[in-house]
């Protein structure tokens, strides 16, 4: 893998510039602020496309800003990657085909460079400012450890060891919290002991009250039925009595209506007439007697007259007697007539008397008196009502009674068959039972009040216990999760180390062999403390005992091996950004020698302000005006 060219348009202080990179060692040289870091940043931006870098790269007030990088893969395929930064952001990757889809481009770049993650790229391909000097002062095992951390954790800020420590601390904290929670839980369970069975007690009591209340309701309902039955009986009797009253009234009214005022008046009239007739008869009898006496006298005086008449007629005497006889006859005829009439009157009176035998001898005034008395009696029986109202009241009572009867019949038909006395007796029993039940309910409710208070206290403690249990469960889960994470991370970390270290040993050994021209060809990393040893004939030599030059060679070997491992063997170009800023001349010469060795197989681009490097590779000179002078 190597970079061929980079073209910057409207990027930071570059208007439009192209530089070409060669195989081997490229020396990009220029003073401070000449644009070295811009080129490095632009190379990395082109691969990552990280939008966070965008604003820092676009030139102030430019009309167009883009970066174009041409690179060649290990399989000698040449790709041209263009990223337009402004006025719009887009990417284009050209090979035999042109790709403009950013996701597809990213996938291809990931395949070519091993990663498009800036941090991974920096750690695999870039040796930062003064990094060599810093690393020289470090122990080799620290170098290996740090690089391993980057390689395996994918981060320099958060190493796997840090994560393991965080998890261990978290689990210890969770254990502490769990112990506290367990104490609280035990305390709450102790406080719950006195309330054992309170729920059952509460339940039994509430059920008991419910049963009592149901029984009471039944009794009260039955009691009401008995009351209705009694009311029904009373109403029935009342109706009967009222009907009797009505009958009585009607009897009285009939009786009053039957009082024979006319007959009695007729009798009185007839009696007066009879009396007159009888008096007439008496008078006639007297007259008849008188006439008969006179006739007798006449006849006595007449005897002589009669005798004389036998011998001669006495006309005056005979006339007198005849008159007397005619008169008597007339009297007798009158008497007979009167007697006949009297007889008829008597017969009528008798007939009338027979018709009004109950009122015999009564006078009309007395009859009126009877009528008035009956009227008073009727009023008394009506009790302030009219007869119509009394009749209506009977209808209403009958209607009420029917309703009552229906209601009783629906639920308690047996009550209709029972005697009133028995009903009263049983109602009394019900009253007794209701009283007892009401007392039982009252007592049970008092007990329930006490039990409820205790239950509430128990519920409060239980609620607290539930909360604590939930807290415990949450902590248990957190601990289980953290333990699982810890175990898994430890496991994969160990596995990766076991995989990584042998590969690192092998690759570092291969590179070291090349750059030391076979002097050293094998290294060993101790698993326990990651100390690095170099094989010399018959033994393994601790790297601390090596010369500084050999240490540098070893470091470069490690760095390149790590780059290989991180990039998946892609042999990425190595970019050195003022990496040897503080090195003295001797160190620089040693370093350059190593770089030249590395550059045999890997493209190296060294960004430096030091013109002394120019002679060791392909120079690319940057002036403060951003002019490039490439010398071949």
């Amino acid at each position: 893998m190597k970079f061929l060219t980079i073209t910057l348009k409207g990027v930071r202080n570059f208007e439009e510039k192209t530089i070409e990179f060669q195989d081997g060692l490229n020396i990009v040289c220029g003073p401070n602020e000449s644009g070295k870091t811009t080129i490095l940043d632009s190379l990395l931006f082109c691969i990552t496309g990280d939008p966070r870098e965008l604003n820092s790269l676009i030139q102030w007030k430019t009309e167009h800003s883009s970066i174009n990088v041409q690179y060649e893969t290990e399989t000698t395929q040449v790709y041209t990657l263009t990223r337009t930064l402004y006025p719009e952001q887009k990417a284009k990757l050209e090979n035999s085909v042109i790709m403009e889809d950013t996701d597809a481009i990213s996938t291809v770049l990931q395949e070519h460079f091993g990663s498009t993650n800036k941090m991974i790229l920096e750690n695999s391909s870039v040796v930062k400012h003064n990094e060599m000097e810093v690393l020289r002062k470090m122990d080799s095992k620290e170098i290996v450890k740090e690089q391993m951390q980057v390689a395996l954790s994918g981060s320099v800020e958060r190493s796997t060891e840090d994560v393991i420590r965080v998890l261990e601390r978290s689990i210890a904290d969770l254990d502490l919290s769990l112990r506290e929670v367990e104490y609280k839980r035990e305390d709450l369970e102790r406080r719950l002991n006195p309330y054992a069975g309170i729920d059952e007690e509460y339940s039994n009591l509430t059920n008991k009250i419910k049963v009592y209340q149901n029984d009471l309701k039944d009794y009260q309902e039955k009691y009401e039925a008995y009351t209705s039955r009694i009311l029904y009986g009373d109403l029935t009797r009342d109706i009967k009595e009222t009907c009797k009253r009505l009958e009585h009234i009607e009897d009285i009214e009939s009786y009053s209506a039957a009082i024979p005022f006319g007959e009695v008046a007729e009798i009185e009239t007839l009696q007066m007439e009879l009396k007159r007739k009888e008096e007439g008869i008496e008078s006639l009898i007297s007259l008849i007697k008188e006439r008969e006496k006179e006739l007798g006298k006449a006849r006595e005086g007449g005897f002589f007259t009669w005798v004389k008449s036998l011998f001669g007629k006495d006309v005056h005497a005979e006339k007198r007697i005849s008159t007397q006889e005619d008169l008597l006859k007339s009297y007798k005829e009158d008497q007979y007539k009167l007697e006949r009439e009297a007889e008829k009157i008597r017969a009528r009176i008798k007939e009338l008397n027979n018709q009004t035998s109950s009122y015999k001898g009564m006078r009309p005034e007395e009859l009126n008196h009877i009528k008035e008395r009956n009227q008073r009696k009727v009023e008394e029986l009506l009790q302030g009502l009219t007869k119509e109202e009394l009749v209506n009241s009977i209808y209403k009572k009958k209607d009420d009674a029917d309703k009552l009867r229906s209601a009783i019949f629906r639920k308690h038909p047996e009550l209709l068959e029972k005697e009133d006395q028995l009903i009263h007796h049983e109602k009394g029993n019900l009253e007794g039972k209701i009283g007892i039940l009401e007392k039982e309910i009252e007592d049970a409710q008092l007990m329930l009040e006490d039990v409820t208070k205790r239950k509430q206290e128990k519920d409060r403690i239980q609620e607290e216990l539930n909360r604590i249990n939930a807290q415990k469960e949450e902590l248990d889960t957190k601990k289980a999760v953290d333990q699982l994470v810890l175990d898994t991370i430890r496991s994969v970390y160990t596995d990766l180390k076991d995989l990584f270290i042998p590969q690192l040993e092998e690759k570092t050994g291969q590179i070291l062999q090349k750059i030391t021209r076979g002097k050293y060809n094998k290294i060993s990393i101790r698993r326990e403390d990651l100390a690095v040893f170099v094989e010399v004939p018959d033994r393994m030599l601790n790297v601390a005992l090596l010369s500084q030059g050999t240490k540098d060679q070893l470091y470069f070997s490690l760095r390149i091996a790590l780059s290989e491992l991180l990039s998946g063997g892609r042999n990425l170009p190595l970019l050195f950004d003022e990496s040897f800023y503080t090195s003295d001349e001797k160190r620089l010469r040693e370093t350059i020698a190593v770089l030249q060795e590395i550059a045999q197989t890997t493209q190296v681009i060294l960004f430096t302000h030091n013109e002394d490097f120019l002679e060791y590779g392909t120079p690319i000179i940057l002036t403060p005006e951003r002019e490039f002078h490439q010398l071949y």
Binding site: E74, G114, A151, L152, S153, G154, S155, E157, R158, T160, V163, V166, L167, T477, A480, V481, D482, L484, V485, T488, I489, S491, V492, Y493, D495, L496, L499, F500, Q503, K507, Q510, I511, E564, L565, L566, S567, G568, G569, R570, N571, T601
Partner: protein, 50 residues
């Protein structure tokens, strides 16, 4: 140098191992814990939480 397979990061290996366990876990409750563990581990490894 011969090309070699790239070394996985701990995060990648952790994700793979946890995902495999989650996929093969028949117990739902245990699976929930595994999912929580996966998220927790990623958060820690990627530096999102301390």
């Amino acid at each position: 140098m011969e090309p070699s397979e790239g070394i996985k990061t701990v995060t990648e290996a952790f994700k793979e191992k946890m995902t495999e366990q989650i996929e093969n876990e028949p117990d739902e409750k245990r699976r929930e814990i595994l999912v929580k563990a996966l998220n927790r581990g990623i958060e820690l490894l990627e530096g999102e939480v301390i």
